[in-house]
């Protein structure tokens, strides 16, 4: 089963996402912010990244840029979890190399549907 790197500074969101994905059979690596995620990304094979945007230390946008610079993450789907309904963060994320986004609030079913769609 594919491995998903889930990044969120909020423990409850992390729990929810991890629980949902594990329940669907995915392997999940979780990280509390960009710095943590980047360190974990370097030592694991990841099929998809799911990242929050607003985080301390390193935010989601910077994380995407850093990941895209890694050879292993050149083509890896990276989805942003964003509450911004405006286009600002999405555009920023897109130009950093994000694949797409999931708009918060979302429910577990929506999350799974999107991830399954991306992973085929």
């Amino acid at each position: 089963m594919p491995t998903i790197l889930a990044v969120d500074d909020s423990a409850s969101m992390r729990q929810m996402v991890t629980f949902t994905l594990k329940g669907a059979g995915f392997t999940v690596i979780d990280a509390v912010d960009g710095v943590d995620a980047l360190a974990k990304a370097k030592t694991a094979k990841v099929d998809l990244v799911l990242t929050d945007v607003n985080m301390p230390r390193m935010d989601g946008i910077s994380l995407i840029k850093e990941l895209r610079a890694l050879p292993n993450f050149k083509f890896t789907p990276i989805l942003m979890l964003t509450t911004e309904s405006g286009t600002g963060k999405k555009t920023e994320g897109k130009s950093a190399g994000a694949t797409g986004w999931i708009v918060k609030p979302f429910n577990p079913d929506q999350l799974l549907a999107t991830i399954k769609k991306v992973l085929g």
Binding site: M13, F19, P77, I78, G120
Partner: protein
Amino acid sequence: MSIDISQFLDTFYEESFEGLDTMETELLGLNPGEADAESINTIFRAAHSIKGGSGTFGLMNVADFTHVLETLLDEMRDGRRDVTQPAVDLMLASVDVLREMLTALRNSEEVDSVRVSEVHDQLEALLKGEAASAEDDIVEGAVGDEEENAAGNSTAGWNIGFKPLSHLFKTGNDPVRIIKELSELGSIKASIDLSVMPEFDLLDPEECCLAWQIELGGDATEEQVRDVFAWVDEDCELVIEAIVSGAAEEPEEVSIEPEVIPTPEVVAEEPIVNTEPASASASASASASASASAPVSVAAETAEAKPSAAPAKKPTSSATKKGSAAESGSIRVGIDKVDALINMVGELVITQSMLNQLGEDFTMDRVQKLQEGLSELERHTRELQENVMQIRMLPISFSFNRFPRLVHDLSSKLNKKIELKMSGENTELDKTVMEKIGDPLVHLVRNSLDHGIESPEERVAKGKPEIGILHLNAYHQGGNIVIEINDDGAGLNSDRILQKAIEKGIVGENDSLSDEKIHELIFAPGFSTAEVVSDVSGRGVGMDVVKRNIRDLGGVVEVKSKKDVGSTFTIRLPLTLAILDGQLVRLGDETYIVPLVSIIESLQIKAENVNSIAGGAELYKLREEYLPIIRLHEVFEITPVNSELVNGLLVVVEGDGQQAGIFVDDLLGQQQVVIKSLETNYKKVEGLSGATILGDGTVALILDVAGLVTLSRERVKALKSQAAVA
């Protein structure tokens, strides 16, 4: 698959309360006019997380409320709005409202909707008032347009020109996935346009050099179609044209030569797609595209749709089963503490198996080995105990953190200028002690602010700096935590206290008391010097209650004060309520435990130092001091081995700042005892603070030294006055 997301609510509440604390701290640190960008960002992030989480977990009223706050903060963050004091105050009020809302939700209580909408309206007013953000209007306009489009466009189908830009793969997107998703909207006919394909030897497999012309049949709206391409909007050239019924344009079909495969995966899989939509997949695609969608209108739609699903009923359904459990809460334990525990348990298991082995064929020559094993067992047990206690230890900052806000609010209310200093915030103490010390601390701090620190004018007149300083300090001393509340205010007014105490009959008119003794009078029951009961220091609750609360925790409070220099209240508390170092004493057939911290010394009684006073009370002369002797057997009405003082021992103890001698038959060993509450298991007994179970299984009662000392002092006083009357 449906997942019950209410299981994550506890974590959500916990982190939200932490977030609110952070917001409060940062807000209090903001200087209007020159706000620190990092602080604003931190506040924004906390609000943002609460909004995201509450939306996800179906707490829509919290999400709505936070949304307005977040918008305000976002504008401040981008420099579109100035940070003003009224705005900061309003945001502080919002933090309070959010805290109340979340508390009410967690405890399944009614949310005070009047207060919520009041602050909500104020936020809205602030938002609309200054710098009425033009952006909102634009966004609204956009929503309107798209809705129109969505409603108006229902045609026979769509002709879609999809030409990904060469970097498409580097965004992690896959054209095939997009076309597949499109196929869920209706029947599609797709053809590949190879005109953009370079010569084979110039081909870069990492670049996308294909284009598609897709004919989508069915009644999908333009919005649905655009949703499918939302993620690649800027990574492709996209042309979407409605097919006018009956005039479907035939796209040029291009035959594909298998040899020319730019990215094998893509083309091999998907030369021409032509699928009939299964009716079942139509609904699935709708939800899939909704979750992935970009446009504002869809975001709003998801937000509305979601709460009506599973989460909406959660607050009520989980309410009943949570109820009482809600308040018991949880504690966060550092992973290092847990690791230490696991480590200790590992050691214990090793020792246990070693002892086991020893026991299997034990001979007397291995007795030394057995002793070693047992002492190891003892050491591990002790360490395990210490580590377990560590789990309940929290830094006192949890308790201190509420004071910046309290001082901020009160100083403006009292028109005083006060600076709060805090030190030793990382000093740890037991969670239960922390919870119980909260109210007494607040009372003492309020007291210092209200009665201690003077108004700026008064201070200037006294030649003091205009700004008064309140200092909270905490540190460990022995097995205790010491908390100091120090102010540089007016100090206690000894004359007034004495006068008041005489009026209330707490002391006799002719008693001469040292300043220290006079200051202690403020803790006497029924004493209050405040002529006007202000709502700051609270009414009805006096310092005697503070003292009693602290005593119930096994602690003491004392005050040192100097006129016009200031006052210091010092609270000493045991680090934990669960374990105590005790001196075992024998009295008749019973064993009692005296807390080791209260023992000053133990001595053999000399007959010539015993003085009997009128009424039958006895005093012991110890280095020019007279201590009341407490005959414990009389207090507890048991038969002692002897009632002759010279045959027993006197344990000199100090409680409540006063000394007394406890007369016992014998001293036994010292040991740590686990405290069992008498109140929970039986009822409160005067003079006892609890009970414990000794190694041999018998129950021993633990003496409440402070209570006993007070009891004996009162008795001596009563006997004296009786004698005087006689």
